[in-house]
């Protein structure tokens, strides 16, 4: 007979039968075997054995945001050290239904288990659970109802998804009843892109559901920063996504999907030149930028404006990366880091040039 899938089940104080709201601060506790909904897990699948249960108070992780997940991981590791047969194939958390704090707890636990123990984790919650605002991308979460009335269905879904996770199968929201993580994953369709485009157009012409393969995103907005009262008194920094780097590309910034940005000195330079700098951006014809890099990073005129007093000071450090195929998420991260560095050295305004 094939080995059963070993599961450690995490739940809150209530479903663990340890008390109500008053026990909300309960630190993680270990119990051998299944408890509460864990018994239902075992009932619903002959392939699963719940080898242990961890109960933790709904408020505990909220009150220990940094360490909470790590503590659960440490507790699991301690059990494994004591008895290797307790090493789980899968960790289950919840179902949390629409309960926000319980959802946060499940989210933190699943994320920690995945990242630190490299064990698959599954949870179940209602699609409107506020925990998804934070944990959506990290979680494999089966869709559950609003409350405990939907317990059986939720556990059933969690079990089915969990078994697939352990088998290494791809989880698809429309097929497996999971909450979309907001991640894009490639797959091979039966028809070519051209065929799919034509069929999609016909559906649109016939007034049928279009079934677009890429729903348009809503980009996040940042509130405009307050202006600088007078640039003549301010420090300006230059940043570019046009890939202008010192000749030789000392940091080896990639021509596309750049994994880094560079921090370079402008000291002693009145202007950029074909000898001093080059463009490593792979997304445009770099001939003109290489001939005269000031066409992308306007050092020459900025220096003049400083001399004339129109700009107070130019920061002698500029930042450059390549904006070609670099994902928005990475670009946001670079922006945040660069901004922090600029603030640190007293820069008050930035000119960002792009190609």
């Amino acid at each position: 007979m094939a080995n059963k899938i070993r599961v450690i089940h995490c739940l809150n104080q209530f479903f663990g039968g340890l008390g109500g709201e008053e026990k909300g601060g309960l630190a993680p506790q270990w119990f051998e075997g299944p408890k509460g909904p864990g018994l239902l897990v075992q009932q619903l699948s002959a392939d699963i054995e719940v080898v242990g249960t961890i109960a933790v108070g709904d408020n505990y992780i909220a009150e220990h945001p940094d360490d909470g997940g790590r503590e659960i991981v440490a507790l699991i590791e301690a059990q494994i050290a004591r008895d290797p047969d307790l090493r789980p194939d899968l960790v289950m958390a919840g179902p949390a239904f629409a309960a926000g704090r319980y959802g946060m707890s499940c989210g933190a636990i699943c994320q920690a288990v995945q990242e630190q123990l490299h064990i698959p984790a599954v949870t179940a919650m209602h699609p409107d659970n506020p925990a998804l605002d934070i944990y959506r991308q990290a979680l494999t979460a089966a869709r559950a109802g609003v409350d405990v009335m939907g317990m059986r269905d939720a556990v059933d879904a969690m079990v089915r998804v969990g078994i697939k996770l352990v088998a290494g199968e791809a989880i698809i929201p429309s097929e497996d009843g999971t909450i979309p993580r907001g991640l894009r994953r490639n797959y091979f369709a039966d028809a070519t892109g051209a065929q799919r485009a034509i069929e999609m157009l016909l559906r649109k012409l016939n007034g049928e559901e279009i079934g677009t393969e890429y729903p348009m995103p809503a980009f996040s907005r940042v509130a405009p920063a307050a202006p600088v009262a007078d640039m003549a008194k301010a420090t300006l920094a230059l940043v570019t996504s046009g890939g202008i780097v010192p000749r030789g590309n000392p940091d080896r910034i990639e021509s596309a999907n750049a994994s880094k940005y560079g921090e370079y000195s402008l000291e002693g330079l009145d202007r950029l030149s074909a000898e001093s700098h080059q463009s490593v951006h792979g997304g445009y014809d770099t001939t003109y930028a290489n001939e005269d890099p000031n066409r992308v990073l306007p050092l020459d005129v900025v220096r003049e404006l400083v001399r004339e007093g129109r700009i107070g000071r130019l920061s002698e450090t500029y930042y450059a990366t390549v904006g070609n195929a670099t994902s928005v998420k990475r670009a946001e991260a670079y922006g945040r880091e660069i901004a922090a560095k600029l603030v640190n050295v007293g820069v008050q305004a930035v000119i960002l040039t792009s190609t």
Partner: protein
């Protein structure tokens, strides 16, 4: 801190959320124009940077294109 974005494809800059946008010459040479003389190019470049400075000094409530 305020940032002035000098770029050619204004719709993209707007879509990704830049607030102070200065339309530039063209993708391969945002602050230059190889069809012009070096002196004319520099004048174009200077005008774009001055526009950017103006944008940095302007109070705005929402995204604005400065040109």
């Amino acid at each position: 801190m305020p940032t002035a974005h000098i770029c050619s494809i204004v719709p993209i800059s707007k879509t990704v959320g830049a607030n102070r946008i200065i339309p530039s010459v063209a993708i391969p040479h945002p602050l230059g124009d190889p069809d012009k003389s070096p002196a004319e190019e520099k004048a174009i470049r200077r005008r774009l940077v001055e526009m950017a400075l103006q944008a940095l000094e302007t109070e705005i409530a929402e995204q604005r294109v400065f040109d």
